[in-house]
Subunit: 310 residues, 4 copies
Amino acid sequence: MFCDVQATEPDIKISLTRVGITNLKKLVKIYRGNKRPIILLPTFEVFVDLPSSQKGIHMSRSPEVIEEVIENLVIKETYGLEELSMGIVKKLFEKHEYASRAEVLIYGDYVMEEKSPVTNKESQEICKIISRAYGIKDSEGNICIKKMVGAEVVGITACPCAQNLLKEKAIENLKEKGFSDEDIIKILDSVVVATHNQRGIGTVMIEVPNGYNVSIGKIINIIKKSMSGEVYELLKRVDESYVVEMAHRNPKFVEDCAREMIKKIVEEFKYLPDDAQVLVRQVNKESIHRHDAFAERHSTMGELRRELNM
Amino acid sequence: MFCDVQATEPDIKISLTRVGITNLKKLVKIYRGNKRPIILLPTFEVFVDLPSSQKGIHMSRSPEVIEEVIENLVIKETYGLEELSMGIVKKLFEKHEYASRAEVLIYGDYVMEEKSPVTNKESQEICKIISRAYGIKDSEGNICIKKMVGAEVVGITACPCAQNLLKEKAIENLKEKGFSDEDIIKILDSVVVATHNQRGIGTVMIEVPNGYNVSIGKIINIIKKSMSGEVYELLKRVDESYVVEMAHRNPKFVEDCAREMIKKIVEEFKYLPDDAQVLVRQVNKESIHRHDAFAERHSTMGELRRELNM
Amino acid sequence: MFCDVQATEPDIKISLTRVGITNLKKLVKIYRGNKRPIILLPTFEVFVDLPSSQKGIHMSRSPEVIEEVIENLVIKETYGLEELSMGIVKKLFEKHEYASRAEVLIYGDYVMEEKSPVTNKESQEICKIISRAYGIKDSEGNICIKKMVGAEVVGITACPCAQNLLKEKAIENLKEKGFSDEDIIKILDSVVVATHNQRGIGTVMIEVPNGYNVSIGKIINIIKKSMSGEVYELLKRVDESYVVEMAHRNPKFVEDCAREMIKKIVEEFKYLPDDAQVLVRQVNKESIHRHDAFAERHSTMGELRRELNM
Amino acid sequence: MFCDVQATEPDIKISLTRVGITNLKKLVKIYRGNKRPIILLPTFEVFVDLPSSQKGIHMSRSPEVIEEVIENLVIKETYGLEELSMGIVKKLFEKHEYASRAEVLIYGDYVMEEKSPVTNKESQEICKIISRAYGIKDSEGNICIKKMVGAEVVGITACPCAQNLLKEKAIENLKEKGFSDEDIIKILDSVVVATHNQRGIGTVMIEVPNGYNVSIGKIINIIKKSMSGEVYELLKRVDESYVVEMAHRNPKFVEDCAREMIKKIVEEFKYLPDDAQVLVRQVNKESIHRHDAFAERHSTMGELRRELNM
């Protein structure tokens, strides 16, 4: 009898931390009462652990779990990406009875409506939303699930250092041409001084403890407002000029963007407990280099509050 | 007898344009007399056509050809990427006696030394170099090979339109504050006005007719000099300020970069015949949008000369 | 007056073949009478040409065109991806009055329902669908648009050559062990002989002349049926065994897959005129190599019919 | 005075875990006594932490550190990738005096010679090698650096489950045709039964405690020997048949490959202390699915030894 090789004892008796599938795409419709459903085509990664006594997991049960959970989404009235990931983790435990850990990562493009800042031209805006859930089953079968939600958003960042250097040089030039200190203040108020600016990508992941709620919409907004300015797919000339001016009046290092996100998270999600995990990351695709600039903080709400005295 | 299925007649008797392998990486050392050898780790794509009378090509002969040609590179005194690609095309015909067309594409990172513009700090600079060769064998066995070489280089581009809009507004502001027209000219000469700027990627491919020579080094230089400014991996503060100022004093649309490359190609490669193919492409990773801006020209040296009256 | 720099004469008076934007993502819902709407999140590339007399295109008009066309999709009763791309090309001419050429490329993931072959387990299946439209405006303002539609589908391919070599060796082994020729025929009929098999990716693009219709669904089906077998996201044990056996009973070279697609296209799209363009491509991610195998045919319906005598 | 904005106090006083640059490529030549130098074109990621009291890191010092360390590589007689990464971490502390943590990740393609298994045809083989170093500086200025080295190697994996199912069916078929149990044993010994097989990617990272040595060459070998078989860029017909047969005589689940790597690591690196970290990962690009199969273990040498009683 050859069948169910997976359930046999392996030759090398060692447990594995994560066994599962990656790179699986599914269409998901999240229905929210009267609102239009959210449509996503995300990628899934799902894993369970495997004890040393068993040769393999029943691999096909993992995509099966995703299918079943997605299909039943329509039934629920309110539902977020974190409920989706929690539902998958619960089902993973049901189907993989040998597992003591189960994990899912979901990420995909999310479409929103945006309006250009001056002419109010409407267009679609796209950012990436992310959800991760991780469950542990103790020896008595009690399951404890932790989950995080987050987003990755593109914006514009303008460098404060180069702008200051160009301001210094402008002042020197203006002094040479005989302008007074008073004039120079007026001039620098009137003329937006150049600096290098670039695509920035902000990422935030926040733990959602059981009984709590964290709005991905608010996370997206925090990321947007933490760079020098927002970007748009459709800008008429006056919009473009406005976006450039605003970004240059709000220059930010990669570190500034990360810190701004942290501050806004601490303000917005006051109600979250001290042990809620927070990850904040900013990557700037530098326009003066081939490489990228990077800043990151991995911490808890409690630690961040203490550091900020908030 | 089962063997050599490839040489049998196929059920569906139809010829194929290109059969071969892609995604093959090899280390290549190009020796150039006394100079240090050029080291590349490029990706290869090699193809031959297949007549309707034969089921399959002898697939393993294609990577074999590349191995042999690469191994023998050391023997030759002077050798460029276009000779490498030509050598591969010739060998492809030898090994695939049924082929009437053979083609190779080689592309990979190329490392150069660069110095930062003010402090002369040395660092490595990387761009992509590309070579393509395409051969046709006529019914009498004569082989005619066409080959192109080129490069893809990263630089910085600053938008002239947004800069003009911000200049207009600056002038308005300055007038309101009582500065004279004469003052304003002096001010705009002294202060570098902001605009959005971003990573630009310029690509040039030029046909190298037999008996002619096209320097990839010169192509790289043309691409660099056609954007608003060059980028560097290592910039001290004064270098950074210099790079930003220079780029803003030389703002360019994506179209301007493409046209500048064309003009410089026509000037630099005067000696190339009229039918030599030229491809020029510029992509700007816009800092105010999530999408990219794109400009391209595919033409011949003759056409470009006529349009430019050069 | 600084404004509308784009409309001014450029310093370097040379025309450009393609100017536009790439890497733009939009949510598209295609409504089809009573059927459920098709939901796509495709990437767009849109281009127009630029005469030598004008400095730049009005870049923002290109994403605007896409927004407008997508928004109005809901109005139409029947609509395919090729109408979407044609609609965009028409609008590009309206908005870029200086253009004599306009082009759009749309590609994105498309979700279908699939059932596993034995147990009929339902799951989602994803392939890529593609649409390209290209328009030329003559001196009298008449616009001629050509359009292509297509798809890229993943399947499994099993190598006939290695299978034959293993069959030869099996026969040798069996003879040594004293089995008769008659026995050996029975044995090879009963036992599926091994070979290397791998992910294959088939691509087809077909021109859709005005007044004609080409179903992307039929293209997807042709690609699926041209490899050794179909792949699935959800397979129970008996399904898996069935898929493996079927693929091994239908071994195919990369060239065979390309030819099979061509034959099926000629059969299915009999009604298409002789000058309709056809592109067929197969890439196999070889399991015994790090590189990929590749076969391609670029031709017209007429040529393909002549070669096949169909 | 505008300069050195980075050294000023930030508005939001919060420390950051990692600030630095990513996506930086450099050519590295590692000289090893009389042996040919190893040539790499790896990508670098370098980070330091940033205290809450300082606005920004001096970004340009990070690529400078890499340049300096790479330049001085030639001086040392023996040198491995882990010394390179350790050297960079040390220099990061020197240049970023405010940092209490420093980190570098280096990864890139590594070229080896390989011979096909039967005909001994020589060709180049490419795998990815990886090095990570992480340093902590305590309040007295003592620096403690941890480092890991590893590799990512492509091979072939054949599924034991599908092969068993096809064996079962073969036995059924053979019995129906009247073959005896004895015959059937002989037959299954003579004929290699089919299964699905695919590209597998094995990854191993091992901590190298100070004073210890871990050979990346040995890691590469362990990964290769832990899948069903090795892959090659150049295989003549008899080689191909050999590779396919060997892989099918050694079928392995994704979990088996991970476990095999662990066992071989425990055997090979007996001398490593109990707290040395070990990461093992296997990803199979399934030929019967669009998604990938995945297995991973993150542990220490001590834990692995205990589980294996070795």
